[in-house]
Symmetry: C2
Subunit: 392 residues, 2 copies
């Protein structure tokens, strides 16, 4: 059968480049800095054995039955506590549990985007947010960044030019893909501008808890006085991505808009996963666990930066992330990262070329490196090999 | 903040009536036939303790890490075997794991529906499929049913009138809400008509494995010679709905269309849930478990029918399901099930009024009863109370 009656959005949402790359990089001889995977040796595997037994013993039937769309109350209570630590005052009505924060992106598309609407994002931005939003056929207006994040003058101009824009999407902490962090001043300014132009901000913050250098900054939502910041986060980077647990924290009036779409998307998120995550936080100290993650990632990031400075040509720039999982490499303007990728794969080392992170796909001279998922010897060897390719 | 820049689809997708009803029916004094919940006392809670320990011991890190969009290979292999038992020949490339079969409905909307497209469904049909599809703003063409399912003459006429219709959605086995089963002749005819009009069929089959009376019928997909039947099913009714595990079985060319949307929806389905489900089927006999479910549901369905025939007025008709979870009640045409509902709640008994199951919401004299989730004494007492309300 050669069926043709598919929806228009099939022309815009395609298998992601990363996914295709990851297939290549599964070959064991390849040192891959391509994915964005946490260090699996840090997962609390043994603790979870106790946790699963406890959940099944204490509330076995409920952990396997249909459950509520908003999420398991003890988990939402624990999320409220995490939000309070970030100086965001919140209650159960402000929280909905999602199937990973990826689902929160998809639901945001559903709640806000009509075909041909404009949405505003950083340039570059998270590749899987681009495909989640593209499903709903918007136009992307990219805002240039510098080391302090989105440039506010450009944002203000974009909003003047697009008064009906639906939302501003930002990843303020250790951004994927650049590793950059939005400065305190810009956070305040961002909320001020959003208030002025009456637009919501979607603050995607999966990495904020993994700060291993510099000083903590309050989330953009902390500065929100009008309930217009929608904060997304996840247990993927601080606990276990395999369980697919994320959350949305927003004004109650906004959460009410998400609920019917969450319900029609998957009824509710796996209640067993929600219960074991809540129980884990009750039985163990997740802050202690996060501390271990930070130490390992700090070390790996420092090692990778040292190697970059040692092995890469001097005209190649890199970011210096204070947390998160990624370093962004800026090549001279005449270089194309896709060409470098082809050569790198022949040298058994991989990364993600930068183009996929630009929704309008118009910058070719950059790429993203991940440092969280790799032991020391492979970081050293991989960056050395990449340096050889770049020097050619 | 009184934000107004939401998408159009917010006007069509609202919190489902069932969800609101379930809140009312959570009050312990109410006997609720409203939900569609499996019997929780049958969940294999103790077996799962062993299974979780085994998965965490043998592949702890992989069970908590990011995984592939298509799903865990051993689970997809087990699904292939289940499909083969249903006389559907299939391979790994034909299967994608979804976050409940609810997600398969949402993804089907993404793959096929553009705004104002026509889609074809039974009248009545599954309420959460209606809201999943409504997200993508189609028109619904409802096809009348009789005791043998969708009436084929009406379907053919609808396809003549709507040559660009995107798909035919059907629940052939023990349909939700009616409990009706499509006859063998109609299954063959349905595929023949779909071939003639070059349209895909979405066969939603969550209940097929729970047949407790009559003879097994092959799924619609069994008669598919051109790869145009997309078969959806789930572990929710045969194992544990809380884990949110469903699947799509379709032609490889169709599965390829679903993958990017699955990826942008939630990257992949909870891998821990996938692994424990696969491991459960390796360590225990799921067929034996399904047999237990069938016996309990057969008994409850027989008891409920007996009570209906004893306590309901004689001019009220009911279906006689050979499996699944639901009985459909047809009231005289001058009665409105919403009025009955209001009175029933005062008498501490609940159901779902039929109107929600008609996408164009134009039939008021029917309602749905669930029998799977209730012990004998509550079935007897609940139907007795309902009979009193109906007699008034």
């Amino acid at each position: 059968m050669n069926y043709t009656k598919f929806s228009k959005r099939n022309n815009f949402v395609r298998p992601s480049e990363i996914r295709e790359i990851l297939k290549v990089t599964e070959r064991p001889e390849i040192i891959s800095f391509a994915g964005g995977l946490p260090a699996p040796e840090l997962f609390p595997v043994n603790e979870l054995k106790n946790v699963c037994t406890e959940v099944l013993t204490k509330c076995g039937e409920a952990s396997l039955q249909y459950s509520t769309t908003e999420g398991y109350i003890p988990l939402r209570e624990a999320i409220c506590k995490r939000m309070e630590k970030l100086s965001i005052k919140t209650s159960l009505d402000n929280i909905i549990v999602t199937t990973g924060s990826q689902q929160a992106l998809d639901l945001s598309g559903k709640v806000f985007i009509d075909e041909c609407d404009t949405i505003i994002c950083e340039s570059p931005t998270y590749l899987a947010a681009i495909s989640a939003f593209k499903t709903y056929l918007p136009n992307f207006k990219e805002i240039p960044m510098d080391e302090e994040g989105m440039i506010m003058e450009d944002l203000e101009k974009a909003l003047k030019d697009n008064p009906n824009a639906k939302f501003i999407y930002t990843i303020p902490d250790f951004q994927n893909p650049t590793g950059r962090t939005m400065s305190l001043e810009r956070r305040k300014k961002l909320v001020e501008i959003a208030n002025k132009f009456d637009i919501v901000i979607i603050e995607d913050n999966p990495y904020g808890a993994i700060r291993f250098a510099g000083e903590d900054l309050p989330p953009v939502k902390h500065f929100d006085t009008e309930g217009r910041v929608i904060y997304l986060s996840t247990f993927s980077k601080i606990f276990a991505p395999g369980l697919r647990l994320g959350w949305i924290c927003a004004d109650k009036s906004i959460i009410q808009k998400y609920i019917p779409f969450k319900q029609s998307a998957d009824l509710h998120t796996d209640i067993f996963a929600q219960m074991i995550t809540a129980k884990y936080m009750e039985m163990y100290d997740i802050e202690e666990h996060i501390q271990k993650i930070k130490e390992v990632y700090r070390h790996r990031r420092e090692l990778m930066i040292q190697c970059i400075e040692k092995y890469f040509p001097k005209d190649i720039k890199h970011t210096l992330p204070d947390g998160g999982l990624f370093i962004w490499i800026q090549l001279p303007s005449n270089m194309d990262a896709s060409d470098i990728f082809t050569k790198a794969i022949k040298n058994n080392v991989a990364f993600v070329a930068g183009e996929s992170f630009f929704p309008n796909a118009n910058f070719k001279n950059s790429f993203r490196l991940n440092y969280s998922n790799m032991p020391d010897d492979r970081i050293i060897e991989g960056i050395k090999r990449l340096g050889e390719v770049l020097k050619k």
